[in-house]
Every structure is written in structure tokens, then in C-alpha cells.
């Protein structure tokens, strides 16, 4: 395997007495399309919150591009190349679609106002939101919000993009649309971790998949291998 972009080493996290993550370790390679699955409450979101910096892990370490980042604030991790989209879209609702992108372009990339606006327009074009640039972001449809989440993540110029259920609640053709965007991004060299409930999408997208259950990794492998794994089936069916 090529040098790992992200290494998660024995990371644990508790909420009260509840162990949301226990000793989770994984590695994601540069340029990889990586899938993270697991039933509700299995610790997927907790794990990526620990990676992106929304939560602090208790034990273990998180190394990104050779640097220990588990004590850094979230914004510092973003500046080092980790961006994420949110499961429930969290646009800056008082701003226009364009301005939503200008925030990371300014704060992460460091562009000045004029350049940031030009760059934002470019990103919106590639993602198909150019005609909504001036629309207040609280007036977008569900699929537009998902796209805005991804566009905003792109604006942070990440090396690693974590897509947290970017397809939840979308219709079939909309899922294809979003998947295409993610494939295109990966083609430009961006590593992508996809967390998804829609199994079909994960299986189509990922090169490698890890399944979490009750805060532990229960198996790892290719999409084809994973679906056949009895542990995974048990976790999902609750047998």
C-alpha cells in the first residue's frame, strides 16, 4: 500500500459510560475511495467527528500526512487538508450560496475577496449550482443543499474529503448526480471517505470498506467481500 494519508491508531471515545468508539484503528491511502458503514449508533459519525476535530478522542492518535493532529482544533485540521460535509446540511443560512463558499476560500485557502468570489463561481459551475449563486442558502431544495455541502467542502481545497451521508433522503437519479460529483473529485486526486446508509452507493463507490459495529471494526475488505461477511449481516439484521 502507498504511504497512508490518514492513520487512526487505537482511538477511543466515551459518552458518559457509553463507549462510542473502542480502540479503532484504520488507514486510508492517498487517492483512495474509502467506505465506512455500520448500523445506527455504531460509531461512524463519532469516528469522523474525531478525525475532523468536532470531537476530541480520548486515547489513541490520529495522524494525517505524517503529523499527529488529534490535539488540533477543527479549523486547523481543515487548513491541513481535511474537509467534511454534514449529515444534516448546515449551510451558513444567512448567506448566499456563493458566500457560503467564500468562507472556506478565505479562511482555509487564504484568497482575497475578489479571487475568492471568482473561485467560488468556478466551483459552483463544476458542481452545477452556478445559477443559484446569489440565492440565499436557506431557500435551497434538499439536493441543492447536499451539493452546497460538497461545494463548500471543495472550496476548502481538501486532500481528504469526508462525505457524511451526502445521499440520505435523495431520489435515485439525485444519488447518481452526487455520486458522479464524488467520482470526479476523486479523479482530481482527492481522497474520499464515504459514510453512507445507502449500501448500493457505497458498494459502487468504494475501493475498500470498513464496517463498524458498537464502536469496533468488525471487518474490512472489498465491497464484494463485505456484503458476504456474516458479521456484517448479523450487525445489520440484528440477529
Amino acid at each position: 500500500m502507498a504511504a497512508a494519508l490518514l492513520q487512526v491508531k487505537s482511538v477511543s471515545k466515551h459518552f458518559g459510560g457509553f463507549a462510542a468508539l473502542s480502540e479503532v484503528s484504520l488507514e486510508v491511502a492517498e487517492g483512495e475511495r474509502f467506505g465506512l458503514i455500520g448500523p445506527n449508533g455504531s460509531g461512524k459519525t463519532t469516528l469522523i467527528n474525531c478525525v475532523s476535530g468536532a470531537l476530541r478522542n480520548e486515547a489513541g492518535s490520529i495522524v494525517f500526512r505524517g503529523e499527529e493532529i488529534s490535539r488540533l482544533a477543527a479549523y486547523q485540521r481543515t487548513r491541513r487538508g481535511i474537509a467534511r460535509s454534514f449529515q444534516i446540511p448546515r449551510p451558513f443560512h444567512s448567506m448566499s450560496v456563493l458566500e457560503n463558499l467564500v468562507v472556506p476560500l478565505g479562511y482555509v485557502v487564504g484568497l482575497n475577496d475578489t479571487d475568492a468570489h471568482a473561485e467560488a463561481v468556478r466551483i459552483l459551475k463544476t458542481i452545477g449550482l452556478a445559477d443559484k449563486a446569489q440565492t440565499p442558502s436557506n431557500r435551497l431544495s434538499q439536493v441543492e443543499l447536499r451539493k452546497l455541502e460538497l461545494a463548500r467542502a471543495m472550496a476548502a481545497r481538501p486532500r481528504l474529503l469526508i462525505s457524511d451521508e451526502a445521499m440520505a433522503g435523495l431520489a435515485g437519479n439525485e444519488v447518481d448526480e452526487v455520486l458522479k460529483i464524488l467520482f470526479d473529485l476523486n479523479a482530481t486526486g482527492i481522497t474520499i471517505i464515504m459514510i453512507e446508509h445507502i449500501m448500493q452507493a457505497v458498494m459502487r463507490f468504494s475501493q475498500r470498506v470498513i464496517c463498524l459495529d458498537a464502536g469496533r471494526i468488525i471487518c474490512e475488505g472489498t465491497p464484494a467481500g463485505i456484503v458476504k461477511n456474516p458479521d456484517v449481516q448479523r450487525a445489520y439484521l440484528g440477529a
Binding site: 458518559g16 443560512h93 444567512s94 436557506n138
Partner: protein, 289 residues
């Protein structure tokens, strides 16, 4: 400080603490569980005191009056929440900031309404337990503080049991923790919140009755309690009923001991200093989730 004085300080602190808990417990539901920035809570309590005063003139016992007022205040609470929900929560963004401003305005309006009807003079009530004390040898405890103690314990116990043992109670707790989950259960969160806010306002009527038992009341008294009630609720950890009692006790006992040891002047600073330190170290409150 002699042992005897320390013991007395603690006894008075416990009584005072229970009083603080009783005036805060309605807010513990409204703000702690429902996240409604209810700064008009003390104003509604003072309104309860005045209603008790009015009934008192017809010969009602204040605590009986307080209990009788509870259904009325429940309806008032339901109405206020409905209005708050329609005007702010439903519209989503910035509900917190504007809701806060709304409740401030409401507090002012209640205060001025009371002034217009009753004037600025203090009002008080009479009852067999006001102005007497319970003598334990040399040691005497005012009955009215004992009444406050009883009301606080009854309210805490009642609400704790209600929230943990009844279906609606559990639904209220659920709404506080995870709204989507509740929706999945098929319950309407707005309805439940409305009900809970009604209960919060209902118990505030009894707290108001107790307020006027403990001391005289004037329309602007609510300002004094904004800080204290929120301090208790936050110190407790949002939404914990037993925590509210404990936080009230901590506040009461520390004020009482500070009074004996360093002088009463420093008592408010100690109470609020305690709050700041608690927030700094343990933002979720002492007994928070």
C-alpha cells in the same frame, strides 16, 4: 467560627437553599429541558405571588391559593409557549436571541401591569405559619422557611416522579434529548413541549405563593431573581430536577456560611463566582448529562 454557629449556618443555608430550588424548578423545566430562554420566569412567579395575595384577601391560605392557581397558570403557560412557538421556534433561525428579547419584553409588561393594578407598594399575606417559629430549645426556625422547605421538596419529588414514571413525563425528557426520535415514536414534540411549558408555569404559581409567604413582594422583585434562578438551573445541569435541588442547596449553604464568616456583602459574589467556576470547569453543570 464555633461549631454551633456553623451548624446554624448550615441549617439556615439548607432552608434558604430549598427556597432557591423552589423558585428555580419551573425554569429548570422551561429552560433546562425545553431550551426556552424564559427570562420572564421570575416575572410570572411574582404574578403568582400577586394572585395569591388577591386570593388571600378573600381568606385563602397562601399555599392553598398557590395550588389552586396551578391549573390557571398551566393554561397561561400553554398559551405563552404556543405564542413563542408560532413566533420564533417555528421560524427557525435565531429563535434563541429573539426569543430572549421577547421574554424580556414579556417580563417588563407583566411588571408594569402589576404596578398599574397594585401600585409600587409591597404586598404580603397572612397565615398561621407566618411570623411564628419552630422552637428547638434555644434554636428557632421560622415556620415560613419550613414551608418553603416543604414546597421545594414536594415540587422536586413531584416533578422527578412525573418525569420518570409517567408516559408524558418520559416524552418530555425524550423531547429534550432527541427530538427526531420522538417524532419517530409518533408523538408531536410541539404538543409535548407545550404541555411541559404549561407544567413549568403551573409549578411557578406555587413557587410564587411560596415567595410571598417567605417575604413581602413588589412588582419589580422579578429582577432580583433572574440571576439567581438561572444560576441555580445552570449550576444544576440543565433539566435535572434533583440537581436543581442540590444546586439550590449549594447556593444557600455557601451564602449562609459566607455571611457568618466574611459578611453578607460578599454573598452574591460568592454565589455567582461559584457559577462561573462551575461553568468553566464543568459546562454541563454539576449534575448534567
Amino acid at each position: 467560627m464555633s461549631f454551633e454557629l456553623l451548624l446554624e449556618a448550615i441549617v439556615f443555608g439548607v432552608l434558604l437553599g430549598c427556597f432557591y430550588a423552589a423558585v428555580s424548578i419551573g425554569l429548570s423545566v422551561a429552560f433546562g429541558l425545553l431550551d426556552v430562554p424564559h427570562v420572564a420566569h421570575p416575572a410570572i412567579m411574582v404574578l403568582g405571588s400577586y394572585c395569591t395575595y388577591v386570593l388571600g384577601r378573600y381568606g385563602w391560605d397562601p399555599i392553598v391559593a398557590g395550588i389552586a392557581l396551578m391549573p390557571l397558570f398551566f393554561l397561561l403557560g400553554v398559551a405563552i409557549y404556543r405564542f413563542y412557538y408560532e413566533s420564533f421556534e417555528k421560524r427557525g433561525s435565531d429563535a434563541g436571541v429573539r426569543g430572549l428579547a421577547f421574554f424580556f419584553g414579556l417580563a417588563f409588561i407583566i411588571e408594569v401591569g402589576l404596578i398599574l393594578v397594585f401600585g409600587v407598594d409591597q404586598r404580603m399575606v397572612e397565615a398561621a405559619y407566618i411570623g411564628r417559629s419552630l422552637a428547638l430549645g434555644e434554636f428557632r426556625i421560622p415556620w415560613r422557611m419550613v414551608v418553603a422547605f416543604g414546597v421545594a421538596l414536594a415540587l422536586t419529588a413531584g416533578l422527578t416522579i412525573y418525569l420518570s414514571r409517567t408516559f408524558t413525563g418520559r416524552a418530555i425528557k425524550a423531547v429534550a434529548q432527541d427530538e427526531p426520535a420522538l417524532r419517530l415514536m409518533g408523538a408531536n414534540p410541539v404538543r409535548i413541549k407545550q404541555w411541559a411549558f404549561g407544567i413549568a408555569t403551573g409549578v411557578t404559581a406555587l413557587a410564587g405563593a411560596m415567595l410571598i409567604v417567605v417575604g413581602p413582594v413588589e412588582p419589580s422583585l422579578d429582577r432580583v431573581y433572574i440571576g439567581r434562578t438561572f444560576a441555580v438551573v445552570v449550576l444544576a445541569g440543565l433539566g435535572s430536577m434533583t440537581g436543581t435541588l442540590a444546586a439550590g442547596l449549594i447556593l444557600g449553604i455557601s451564602e449562609s456560611i459566607v455571611l457568618m464568616q466574611f459578611g453578607a456583602s460578599w454573598a452574591p459574589a460568592v454565589a455567582f463566582g461559584l457559577l462561573l467556576v462551575a461553568l468553566g470547569i464543568r459546562p454541563q453543570g454539576l449534575f448534567g448529562r
